[in-house]
Symmetry: C2
Subunit: 400 residues, 2 copies
């Protein structure tokens, strides 16, 4: 057992050289740190032939606020373990874990440097044909195979304990469900948005619906979630999609991951109103984003129901029509969680580049207003939708 | 750390003498075993002045089937810990833990020998004025103070892990939600009931509603339940009510405990049709049982809502109207779980003396048919009730 120490590039290089065998002993290695996250160091180690791996190390504090916000190193164990479990059931869309050292909070991962981060690509107007079905496949398989439909109850209970993740969950509990709906020092929005924020914070119906969503997040251990499926956690190219960074993973409501993903696509959708000035091009991108959401939801539902019909182990949960009812509720939850993502990314602590990088403050404000309104209406109306078609109609009506 | 060994009376006496200080050193102690349960040894140790304590020791197997059904001793730790936690928030209705030894699976408890077991008393037609409000108080306080409304999320997550109880939960999962709805060797009912059982097992709507209930039992960690609130787990006299035996405790759906309690009152209600021949007396007892259920539900709701309004710690869950909505769902769940209790006690492995002790097989069969039908209708119709008044009306209409 080694004591934890935060690596510099030289130490990361030495570690990969001495503790792993990805490179030939005589290889001349280079290493640099390029993490842009707030919570981790990320090193790339490569040889002269451009063979490379990523060494990710959790920091014992949140980097964005100095060392003053301590954060458990346990999350490195959680992240690596989620990746291993998700990788077992959906290897094609989960970044591969090559080596782990929980004492040092280190995970060595395959290098996805030939791919791109989805958020940046969407901001630049690029589209990915397989994105919807790949993400749907990932979300359906990882959630089904860790649900009560599939796992023996005792095994699931052991996993719920293994993936208990209080510190990271607390971040979501606070930032998604609390801060935006009341005064908080952590909230972050321009003064011009105050009337909308005040109206939201006085909207009792919204707060009631958010309470329902938070209660599910707190107590509804349906499956092993990624916990942070935003477009910055997804690598893409024209053939592949890879999910990374599940350090927020825990057993929670299945709709949360799907909702986070849809929410980030909708944040981009709102931003494109001001990002793309040429109308045909904007229409195309809007159509792509909406189609991606609808395809992802439809494919998620279809794959889930297929797995439920062919792979369910629990006897009771195989009752006729139950999987359909279950997944309909998951979809309602997803659109609700999506609404909370839109709101917290607009007025809460953590924003998205899609909107933040709009330079004109008047244009940015308009986008923020739309995102806020869209989030609010999804939260309010999703619980009353019966089917994915209703949910899709709701979304379209809100985007028109 | 002592190795586990199952005690005989002499060992139980020696243990209490040497390891506790309830009795004076010179006291002459007597000890006898009187457990009638299936899973534990229960000793009474008393001195010449009739001072006494109970020493309960878990067996590493289910006694009713010999040593062939091994069962974790962990349940002694769970039981003692639930009693301690429930006792902290509702001391007046929780049996007091005087001493515990988890290695030996021993709990020493206050002796409630001056009180009676509720089931036997109800079977004999006795009534208890405070029963409804005492049980309501116990269920409301223990469930509120271990819910997301009150507990800090990290503390609750730690408790969910501490009270993970896979082996005992598996018994409930199988016996409540699986066995009665399909062929199982463990099912136990007279041949004459086969048409009703077949109809139940072919009723897809019932199986769908039971799937919903089982999914909640499996994944809805709302609060720290007792887990086995039948009328054999309740001591009564005319002034006090004491809950014992929470070895099935775990974090689950709050409605489960209330539903189990109501279910056992209704099993007695059905049985009284044939137990009491004098109509006025039967009417009185039926009225008492129905009134106990309605008072218990109303008082449970009222206490819960009062606690939610005055003691809630979570900011989001204090949204206007949320506690009401939450507890309405808990009540719907309770009536549904109540239905599963009626059914599993009629055709599953474990029956109740209320019905079993009816000697005339024709009379017993009629009672079984009523219990089965009542359970089925509660399961089917409870989810469509909006308020406790609707649920009460439903119950009355089914009992007429």
């Amino acid at each position: 057992m080694v004591d934890y120490t935060a690596f510099d590039s030289a130490q990361a290089l030495e570690y990969v050289k001495n503790q792993t065998n990805f490179f030939a002993p005589e290889a001349e290695l280079t290493c640099y740190e390029f993490g842009d996250g707030n919570l981790n160091l990320v090193f790339r180690v490569h040889d002269e032939q451009s063979n490379s791996v990523i060494l990710k190390q959790a920091l014992p504090y949140a980097r964005c606020v100095g060392e003053s916000w301590p954060l458990t190193l346990e999350r490195a164990r959680i992240e690596a373990s989620v990746l291993v479990r998700h990788g077992e059931v959906c290897p094609q869309t989960t970044v591969k874990v090559l080596h782990r050292n929980d004492a040092l909070a280190i995970t060595v991962l395959e290098d996805l440097g030939h791919m791109q981060i989805l958020r940046a690509q969407l901001c630049e107007g690029h589209t990915y044909t397989n994105l919807a079905t790949d993400v749907a496949d990932y979300l359906a398989k990882t959630s089904f195979y860790h649900s009560d439909f599939y796992l023996p109850p005792a095994q699931k209970k052991a996993l719920v304990t293994e993936f208990t993740n209080p510190e990271l969950c607390a971040i979501t509990e606070d930032l998604f469900f609390d801060d935006p709906y009341r005064y908080s020092e952590r909230n972050n929005y321009p003064d011009e948005l105050q009337p909308q924020v005040t109206a939201l914070q006085n909207n009792q119906a919204v707060k009631l619906a958010v309470a329902e969503l938070k209660a599910k997040f707190l107590s509804c251990a349906q499956s092993l979630l990624h916990g942070d499926v935003h477009t910055g956690s997804i690598f893409v190219d024209q053939t592949n999609t890879k999910l990374i960074d599940p350090e927020f993973g825990f057993f929670g409501p299945i709709g949360f991951d799907l909702g986070s993903f849809i929410g980030n696509l909708l944040l981009n959708y709102c931003a494109q109103h001001k990002r793309i000035t040429e109308l045909p091009k904007r229409r195309d991108l809007h159509a792509y984003l909406l189609n991606t959401i609808q395809t992802c939801v439809a494919q998620f539902e279809q794959t889930w129901l297929h797995l439920a019909k062919t792979q369910s182990q629990d006897l009771s949960l195989q009752a006729e029509g139950y999987a359909e009812r279950f997944i309909n509720q998951v979809l309602r939850d997803a659109y609700g969680f999506c609404g909370t993502e839109l709101i917290r990314r607009t007025i809460g602590l953590a924003h998205v580049a899609d909107i933040e990088d709009i330079e004109n403050p008047v244009a940015r404000l308009e986008v923020q207003k739309q995102a806020l309104l869209l989030g609010e209406q999804l939260i309010l109306q999703a619980p009353h939708c019966n089917t994915k078609e209703d949910l899709s109609q709701l979304l379209i009506s809100l985007l028109l």
